[in-house]
């Protein structure tokens, strides 16, 4: 486990397509900041005016009923809406010193610092387990075999897959079970050593046993990467996260942030009545 240290001084005014490397999650310090983030599609807001900080070394959960804009918000953090023609994202998202949406920030490079795991496992079917794991590294131009191997092993260990796949790295990813495939996707995202890992309901397509294994995994991973996880499962949020952002669809059909704070407090003594209703299962 890494000791928390003060963040190092970074050179200012550097060409912003050069990565600015942050330290291993500086505990308690914000690594991502959202201010008044609004995502709209063809003029209609899907989620609006969201502001909160994601702290390093923590697991931040986005919770709320369906339609509250959790996934939309998550995908705005690694600019996945860039390819949607009708989408517009306003407000500010900062990753350390980098303005995620600045014109000078390259989305490709950004995504090597902010990784994503999707709801349904999506390993590349024509690639082997090894090739899947190092796919992200290769996309980013890493070619040296020792580095690839080292990163792959480390990631597969962290995803609790190494022992079961170490002898069949050349096997196709489709030979793995659903839960294993999702862990492969986690390993694939981890291999690039991102600073933040976004997880979009990573267990909702899996059986309870696989779900449990991944929840345990996520708990351990926070020492390595900062995690933002979307979940519609309240118990999961309670079990896994340090902080929660509760989103709810407003009258204008746009999701808004109702409350944000430490998980324990949110679930036991929330400030907002709506939060209380949600965590008590009265809706959603």
């Amino acid at each position: 486990m890494i000791e928390p240290t003060t963040p190092p001084p970074v050179a200012e005014g550097v060409a912003l397509d050069t990565a600015q490397v942050l330290l291993d999650p500086p505990l308690g310090e914000p690594v991502m900041s959202l201010r008044d983030v609004t995502v709209a599609f063809a003029g209609r807001n899907a989620v609006r005016d969201v502001s909160f900080d994601v702290n390093g070394g923590e697991i931040t959960a986005l919770i709320g009923p369906s339609g509250s804009g959790k996934t939309t918000l998550l995908r705005a953090l690694n600019r996945m809406h860039d390819t949607v023609r009708t989408a517009s994202v306003t407000g500010s998202v900062m990753l350390g010193e980098t303005d995620v949406y600045a014109g000078s920030t390259d989305p490709t490079l950004l995504r090597s610092r902010v990784g994503m795991v999707f709801q349904r496992p999506n390993p590349f079917p024509t690639m082997s387990i090894y090739e899947n794991t190092v796919a992200g590294l290769r996309f980013n131009g890493v070619r040296k075999k020792p580095l690839l191997d080292e990163a792959a092993e480390s990631a597969l260990v962290a995803a609790a897959l190494w022992d079961s796949v170490r002898d069949r790295l050349k096997a196709h990813a489709s030979t793995l079970s659903g839960g294993e495939q999702q862990r492969l996707c986690i390993a694939r995202a981890l291999a690039v050593e991102p600073e933040v890992l976004l997880m979009d309901e990573p267990t909702s397509a899996l059986d309870p046993i696989a779900t449990k294994r991944i929840e345990e995994l996520v708990g351990e991973l926070k020492h390595r990467v900062t995690i933002v996880i979307v979940t519609h499962n309240m118990q999961q949020a309670m079990r896994v996260s340090d902080r929660c952002a509760f989103l709810l669809m407003g009258d204008d059909k746009a999701g808004e942030l109702i409350e944000f704070g430490p998980t324990a407090r949110l679930f036991s003594e929330p400030s907002d009545q709506r939060t209380l209703d949600y965590v008590n299962g009265r809706f959603g």
Partner: protein, 306 residues
Amino acid sequence: MTTLAFDASADPILQRRTEIQRVAAASLKRRKRSSRIAIGVCWAFLGIAIVPLVAVVAYVVVKGLPAWNVDFFTKSTVPEGIPGGGVWNAIVGTAEIGLIATAVTVPVGLLCGLFLAESDGRIAGAIRFTADVMTGVPSITIGIFGYIAIVITVSGGHYSALAGAFAIGIIMLPVIMRAGETAIRGVPNHLNEAALALGARNATVARRVVVPAAMPGIITGVLLAVARGLGETAPLLLTIFGNQFLQWNPTKPMEALPLVIYNYSSQPYADLLQIAWGAALLLMVVVLVLSIGSRVLAAVLQKERR
């Protein structure tokens, strides 16, 4: 690049992250440039592909349209050197051959399609595979078959439109079979089962429930098969021989549009070439109308269903 105030080399994850980010940043320009070039090449290929395809259609229209006058549609073909003339006999021939081929092939093909749709055994599988392969067999070999089967065996050496219709029919048959099967298989099962549950026999179910429900797909398939059949030239070259005069009798040699185009295209006479272009335009229009029509029809019938 970044400056770090302390030594990060102790932690392997940090080391890797630093190295990965360094490589990523350094290679970014190159990766983006490769991407731009490759995508540009794809666009260029799209352009290259469009040019000849558009050019063919454009030339046929531009050169063929002037040939479309009253004579073109009402007079028969004339030998080289004699002015005037049209393709009326060829139009009649193409239409007649098409009609005969369609009239025979559609019922046979549909019944076969019904057979295939209702069977899953190995024999059915083999028949299905054979039909698929037959759709791609070189059409000249089917022309040879038509020659052997009809011209020699049945007619004792006489060319005829029937031989041509036979050959065209062989080309159309597997297409209709498979299109029919696909359309019939596409009918939702509950229609089938409801009818059977009411006590109806299979034949009745087929005739009154399944086939009508599959009609959009069947019609599309038939129209496409006809479009294909009308455009085939090689089989006709070996079977119908051509005929300078208007001929309605299918047991005699006949003229057809593809034949006229083929024969006239190597002639040095400008008026014959003009007629060839005109015939090509006519043929192309008919085939395209059938193809477009089949899609439109399918879309319209699908909408009505909802």
